[in-house]
């Protein structure tokens, strides 16, 4: 394929920060942003911890007229999009609108917005439902609003694959670039920390019941007790390689060299019997990137926090990389799992790691990795020759996705 996809801009709205500077600074410091949920009283719920985005002021990013039409998840997507476009120095007003697209992932839609309107219906009357319910709650709301706000009029999409969705969005961006689109705004955000959404999530026994932020989400630990949900995510600008260079982009963070997806197809609610399909997703992403596992310098693991799923992931990593102990990190231990935002944020982390030559840390873990034989990176690690990163994501039900990012420093334009 001659048309290659490059990440030229990154917008982060996550517990670790708003904008890449704050996000990266907190990343290097290993700041864990998991804490008690503050937006409502969780005392009656089995789950009380979450990863909130501190200091997010939606009015900085979204006009007041639009605020009332949209959910927090869309505010975060609009904010991350603006940050990403600014970072890429891409002004859609100066572009051919049909050459630009947006692809977002969404797992659960406009939770708080939807709950407010459904409450109005059941507490008051059907006529109390807002005129904006039809556009605020559904999964396509963020892509639609981003398209309108920035005049991205090419083929747009919305993909749902639970926590693997962020990689699916970027994979679709790559497909669009291959077919002639110039640049795609891609990624995902999620706002799952509202009351009813949290009730729905708590039906999963993989959601951590812990009240201690330091031990609630410890993937690969022998006593892992599930995951903590978090909000936010990341949006990246995916741009055709030659076009990016000819317009003189401020930077190319990484090439999206290969992506692949598989499904366990094992059981709708139970973990798979083995790691075969997860390992296959990793291998195929590496194959499609035109490299071999030996070229991969770091793995951003899914890190589910479920003992069985962690064991499968460790086995898949050992199988794909043979005897070599590749560095493995789960920086989302700082934020909790952001569903659609999670894999998108991991891609942003990987792109920044390649740019800075530093592997972001996993926090609250010990390097021993619970006996899985992994080289877990528990403190920010200098890696000046970092060239190729593998990002792995899984979604509840059996979605496995992987993406290989490659540093632009080591290849011809």
């Amino acid at each position: 394929m001659s048309r290659r996809a490059a990440i030229t801009g990154i917008g982060v709205v996550a517990p670790t920060g708003i904008g890449i500077a704050e996000h990266w600074e907190n990343t290097l410091a290993g700041t864990c942003r998991i804490g008690p949920i503050t937006t409502f009283d969780t005392s009656g719920l089995p789950v009380s911890l979450g990863g909130e985005v501190p200091g997010f002021d939606e009015s900085e990013f979204v006009p007041s007229k639009l605020l009332v039409q949209t959910d927090r998840w869309t505010w975060m997507a609009l904010a991350a999009t603006r940050l990403a476009l600014d970072d890429a120095a891409l002004d859609p007003d100066r572009e051919y609108p049909f050459g630009l697209s947006v692809v977002t992932a969404s797992a659960s839609g406009g939770n708080a917005f939807g709950q407010r309107e459904i409450q109005a219906l059941w507490r008051d009357s059907p006529r109390a439902v807002s005129a904006y319910q039809s556009i605020g709650w559904f999964y396509a709301a963020s892509s639609g609003q981003i398209s309108i706000r920035h005049q991205l009029k090419g083929a747009c999409s919305v993909l749902v694959a639970d926590s693997a969705g962020g990689i699916e969005a970027v994979a679709q961006a790559k497909r669009l670039i291959r077919r002639g689109t110039g640049a795609v705004v891609a990624g995902g955000t999620e706002a799952p920390l509202s009351p009813y959404a949290l009730v729905c999530q708590s039906s999963q026994d993989t959601l951590s019941r812990s009240t201690d932020p330091a031990t609630a989400y410890r993937p690969f630990a022998p006593d892992a007790g599930g995951y903590v949900p978090g909000e936010g995510g990341a949006i990246v600008v995916v741009e055709e390689w030659a076009r990016a260079h000819s317009r003189g982009v401020p930077q190319v963070y990484a090439e999206i060299a290969g992506t692949a997806s598989t499904h366990d197809a094992h059981h709708p609610t139970e973990p798979p019997a083995d790691h075969r399909q997860l390992a296959r997703a990793m291998r195929e992403a590496v194959d499609r990137a035109g490299c071999s596992p030996g070229d991969v310098d770091v793995v951003f693991a899914d890190g589910s926090g479920d003992v069985t799923l962690d064991r499968h992931e460790a086995a898949a990593i050992r199988e794909v990389f043979g005897g070599r102990r590749v560095p493995v990190t789960v920086p989302k231990t700082m934020t909790g799992r952001l569903y659609s935002g999670g894999a998108a944020l991991d891609l942003a982390w990987a792109a920044l790691a390649l740019t800075h030559g530093v592997i972001p840390p996993s926090v609250n873990l010990d390097a021993a990795g619970g006996g899985h034989g992994l080289d877990l990176v528990t403190e920010a690690r200098e890696a000046p020759h970092l060239r190729t990163a593998l990002v792995v994501a899984r979604g509840t039900g059996g979605f496995n996705s992987a993406a290989v990012l490659r540093s632009p420093r080591h290849q011809a334009a």
Partner: protein, 420 residues
């Protein structure tokens, strides 16, 4: 580039719980619309819907599956079972690593989410909801990709799986996504299509709030009237269609019956308004032209257009303008119809149901009519095939879709004799 064809079709639609019943219904042009029966609609502006008489047990779903799955998932399973059987695929003999799933849905499991919300919130009294009375597996309804999982598990599909949720173009876009996966070599077979079961209080209320749905409550069978001067909005529907999309050589090698080729697909966004449409239909026209280009067709090659035809004044005029712009004079020659006049507007599902209709039109040479089109809107002055079906040789059928969020999609299905 690798090419993809349709080798199986399954449908659950209002007035037709199988492919053949659906086909008979739309050819007959007899609307399957009635007063809402699943809850008391008296307090609502629009009290009618195109409902399916859908009994999941009849389709072989077990009590456990029925309990676990929202209605939209049950319908997806029922239509997928029919499509897979129709394709003649022997799942035990295919490479399941190369078998994918791409399901579309606009609103997912809203019925379950609303039912459970009413319990968790004590009838809306409490903002902080209570988890102690809700169903197990409620997470599966919060995140609609669980429906794609159900299909993947059912057929042992280990290839790529996802749910596409682009509002009312989800149905076309899910098939378009499957087409891309096959073109790019990411899969050889994809079980693709869409399902929606949105007839619940919150969804009916949200369309009431913007007066998008028809209040013609006294005459349900006449309420869905696309392109007719007397139209008053769309009629909410439900249903599912699943197609088996297969790489051409793979299908030929196993001697599969081929309905049609997925000859061209394109999507655009209007960048204009979440619900509003520009009267000139510019972006839908762009999508149509691009889909035609990809299919390497001239406008006068088209034998049929399955219209979005929702029956809102705004849509019908937008769409008419788009056809004129994209197809020029040929727009006046080609028969167009909207099966929403018969089965209502099932949001994300309808696009795939309309693609199922196109597959059958191309393979059977009959064009289903637009029901209730008795007094054409003078601004909708194309051949919208009023009332009565027609026999016609159709080599290439186009379907158009348009949805909230500004999404505009178009897809061309071509006759298999044109394939090689």
């Amino acid at each position: 580039m690798r090419r993809s064809v349709v080798t199986g079709v399954g449908v659950v639609a209002p007035g037709g719980g199988s492919r053949e019943e659906f086909w008979a219904r739309i050819v007959d042009g007899k609307p399957a619309i009635r007063r809402v029966s699943t809850f008391d609609p008296t307090a609502y502006r629009s009290q009618i819907a195109a409902e399916c008489d859908f009994d999941p047990a009849r389709y072989g779903l077990t009590p456990q599956e029925i309990r676990r799955m929202d209605r939209f998932v049950q319908m997806a399973i029922a239509s997928a079972d029919e499509a897979v059987a129709d394709s003649g695929l022997e799942l035990g003999r295919v490479d399941t690593d190369r078998l994918g799933v791409c399901l579309g849905s606009a609103v997912g499991a809203t019925i379950t989410l609303e039912d459970e919300y009413v319990v968790a919130s004590n009838h809306g009294r409490d903002w902080v909801t209570d988890h102690r009375h809700t169903m197990p597996f409620l997470y599966q309804s919060l995140v609609p990709s669980s429906a794609a999982t159900e299909l993947a598990v059912r057929y042992g599909a280990h290839g790529p799986a996802a749910l596409v949720s682009t509002g009312c173009t989800s149905g076309i876009d899910s098939i378009g996504h499957a087409h891309s996966l096959i073109q790019d070599g990411e899969a050889d077979i994809v079980i693709a299509g869409a399902s929606d079961a949105p007839i619940s209080p919150i969804t009916v209320a949200c369309f009431d709030a913007i007066r998008a749905t028809s209040p013609r409550n006294d005459e349900p069978d006449q309420a869905s009237r696309p392109f007719d001067a007397g139209r008053q909005g769309f009629v909410l529907g439900e249903g599912s269609a699943i197609l088996v999309i297969e790489e051409l050589e793979h299908a030929l090698a196993r001697g599969a019956r081929v309905y049609c080729e997925v000859a061209g697909y394109a999507a655009r966004a209007n960048g204009f308004h979440m619900t509003g449409l520009r009267p000139d239909g510019f972006e839908l026209g762009e999508a149509i032209m691009e889909a035609m280009d990809r299919a390497r067709l001239n406008p006068d090659d088209l034998g049929y257009i399955s219209a979005h035809g929702s029956g809102t004044k705004q849509n019908d005029r937008h769409e008419t303008a788009a056809y004129k712009r994209a197809l020029g004079e040929a727009a006046r020659q080609v028969p167009i119809s909207s099966i929403k006049s018969v089965i209502g507007h099932s949001l994300g599902a309808i696009g795939s149901i309309e693609m199922a209709a196109c597959a059958l039109v191309v393979s059977r040479g009959v064009i289903p009519p637009t029901a209730n089109l008795t007094t054409p809107d003078p601004d909708c002055d194309l051949d919208y095939t009023p009332l009565v079906a027609r026999e016609a040789e159709v080599d290439h059928a186009l379907s158009a879709g348009s949805g909230f969020g500004g999404f505009q999609s178009a897809m061309v299905f071509s006759k298999p004799s044109e394939v090689s």
